[in-house]
């Protein structure tokens, strides 16, 4: 039996990595896990080994600083490892992992979840066509491999990511055919007061927009892509003007492109929290369903802490602070001294969250969003289920995501529902006139990530199978 470490942390982004550093500084033995090979999360993602030298960006600088701090700390970082199940026996957490096809188990007295976010994409006709990628996915590709998503790209979606992604594509020599954003200039004006808490980011955003304007990249404000043309490859998109409700009502425009980036904001990744027993609450201003967690990451469950975007989309600056706090309080609960700056950090969290919350507000769903998804549109990508199929299941009486799941298999495919459950829930709420707060996510079940079957058959050998003697004839 391996001696359990003090604290195991899932996710090495701004929250998890800072949690590990502050807990280790307090004296705790910390193991930090991430499915990427290097710490940084998606926002401060490290470059691939293929990039030998590149111009630094604020993100790459922040990531490199964090990676240096971790390398010079007592934290044990394990990269390229995936957690697929979380259990608890007595006061000890068991975290089941798979790395390079091999199963593993880590035990700890405290568990900090810093699982971050994933992207919400409102399904539209043609969004499954090769060449259409997530907007956040595009940033991962641009940061990690520095490869533009295609030759001519339409960058579409809500919030600041469209301008960042379009700028990065152009910086790498790619062509941006157009930016299509459901947000209007008025939406941006309404979040400006909160944005002024970060003049550095406002300046950067204005430089992106000025540069894109000078380069004559068309920016379609208050528009959404309503169709991606092409079956085996993208030929172009149709962008339609939205009405005040967000429904496509106005003039259509055709734009030629071979690739599309599409995203409608971030949602907290809460499945690990669900498996660990955390309760969920509906907070649209935080990205949707979030686990109950305090500013310092503590939860109702002893030894469980949740921090960063996985506890609500507040952005990287707030995630760093909440991570530090969670590391401090987790270590303190195990008997280590509380750092002297704990209270100061705690009061800095709300201000740090202002900018991130304003960005989340730009992706709040609107009643008209559902009109973007036509009956033939694929909702569950893994099982190729259309909206019409899901609607038929609701007509038969399905009232929950669990019921839809067992009736249609939506969410039982390879992604585990990560790209359909939210869309199904929003559609159900809109079509049935139900409060989204009454349609919780389905029961979380392992595996959290796809696991090879050999992991479950750990130690199994065909020759060990007991074969009974044949029955006498």
């Amino acid at each position: 039996m391996i001696d359990p470490c003090d604290i195991v942390i899932l996710g090495a982004g701004p929250a998890g990595a800072n949690a590990s550093l502050s807990a280790a500084r307090a004296g705790a033995r910390v193991t930090l896990l991430d499915e990427q090979t290097q710490p940084g999360g998606q926002i401060w993602r490290a470059k691939s080994a293929a990039i030998i030298k590149a111009q630094p960006t604020p993100e790459s600088d922040a990531g490199n600083t964090l990676r240096d701090c971790l390398a010079n700390s007592a934290v044990t970082f394990v990269g390229d490892v995936r957690v697929w199940q979380i259990e608890r026996t007595g006061d000890i957490w068991q975290v089941y992992t798979v790395a390079d096809g091999q199963p593993g188990k880590i035990e700890a007295k405290a568990l900090i979840l810093a699982t971050g976010a994933r992207e919400y994409v409102q399904p539209i006709p043609g969004w499954t066509t090769p060449g259409v990628i997530g907007l956040a996915g595009a940033t991962a590709l641009l940061k990690h491999d520095m490869t533009p998503p295609g030759v001519a790209t339409v960058v579409a979606g809500t919030g600041p990511l469209v301008f960042f992604t379009a700028s990065e594509i152009r910086r790498l020599g790619g062509h941006v055919a157009a930016i299509v954003t459901p947000n209007t200039r008025r939406d941006w004006l309404s979040v400006m007061p909160a944005m002024l808490s970060r003049p550095d980011l406002v300046r950067r955003g204005l430089a992106w927009i000025a540069n894109l304007t000078l380069a004559r990249v068309p920016v379609l404000w208050g528009h959404a892509i309503t169709r991606v043309e092409g079956a085996r490859a993208v030929n172009g998109v149709v962008a339609t003007k939205l009405d005040a409700s967000g429904a496509p009502k106005g003039k259509k425009r055709e734009i030629a492109a071979d690739s599309v980036c599409l995203g409608n904001g971030l949602i907290p990744a809460v499945e690990a929290a669900q498996l660990a027993g955390a309760d969920l609450r509906y907070h649209p201003e935080l990205g949707g369903w979030v686990p109950g967690a305090m500013t310092d990451g503590s939860t109702k469950i002893k030894g469980l802490y949740i921090c960063g975007d996985g506890a609500g989309i507040r952005g990287a600056a707030a995630a760093e602070i909440q991570g530090k706090l969670a590391g401090m309080v987790a270590a303190n609960q195990l008997g280590f001294d509380l750092a002297p700056d704990f209270e100061a950090l705690k009061s800095a969290h709300a201000r740090a969250a202002r900018f991130g919350l304003a960005m989340t507000a730009l992706s709040l769903q609107k009643p008209g969003d559902q009109a973007l998804t036509t009956p033939e549109t694929i909702l569950c990508r893994c099982e190729s289920l259309s909206l019409a199929r899901i609607t038929a299941e609701i007509a038969k009486g399905a009232e929950s995501i669990n019921a839809i799941k067992s009736g249609t298999r939506a969410g039982m495919g390879a992604c585990g529902g990560k790209f359909c459950h939210t869309a199904v829930a929003r559609m159900m709420a809109a079509s049935q006139g139900v409060d989204p707060a009454d349609i919780p996510p389905p029961t979380a079940r392992p595996p959290l990530r796809p696991v090879p079957a050999s992991v479950f058959a750990e130690g199994f050998d065909y020759d060990d199978l007991p074969i009974s003697k044949p029955a006498p004839l």
Binding site: K53, Q55, T128, S259, R381, S384
Partner: protein, 100 residues
């Protein structure tokens, strides 16, 4: 006109090229980049068929969640957004396995 953002294309220094194959076609990649990145540069965006309806699919989330970019490497299903290219790597596309 002076761009506010410099074009940083030239300063990106990449690792030397290695060879790999996709569906038997010889392609090149910078050592250490993801299979997905190399395939995008080679304009191979269509990576697999959806198991249920056979529709063409390609990478989507680019961070290991959606499983849309699965390819076969040495008989194992791997995400091309996480698989790193090395010299001689043989990548096969996932053919449709129809249901009865």
């Amino acid at each position: 006109m002076t761009p506010l953002l410099q074009n940083h294309r030239s300063p990106v220094q990449r690792a030397p090229m290695v060879s790999f194959t996709f569906e038997g076609e010889a392609l090149s990649a910078h050592a250490g980049e993801t299979v997905l990145s190399a395939l995008i540069r080679a304009v191979h965006l269509y990576l697999r068929d959806a198991p249920e309806d056979g529709a063409a699919r390609g990478a989507f989330c680019c961070m290991g969640l959606c499983q849309e970019c699965l390819v076969l490497v040495e008989g194992r299903r791997v995400e091309s957004c996480r698989q790193v290219v090395h010299d001689g790597l043989a990548v096969e596309a996932l053919k449709r396995v129809p249901h009865d």
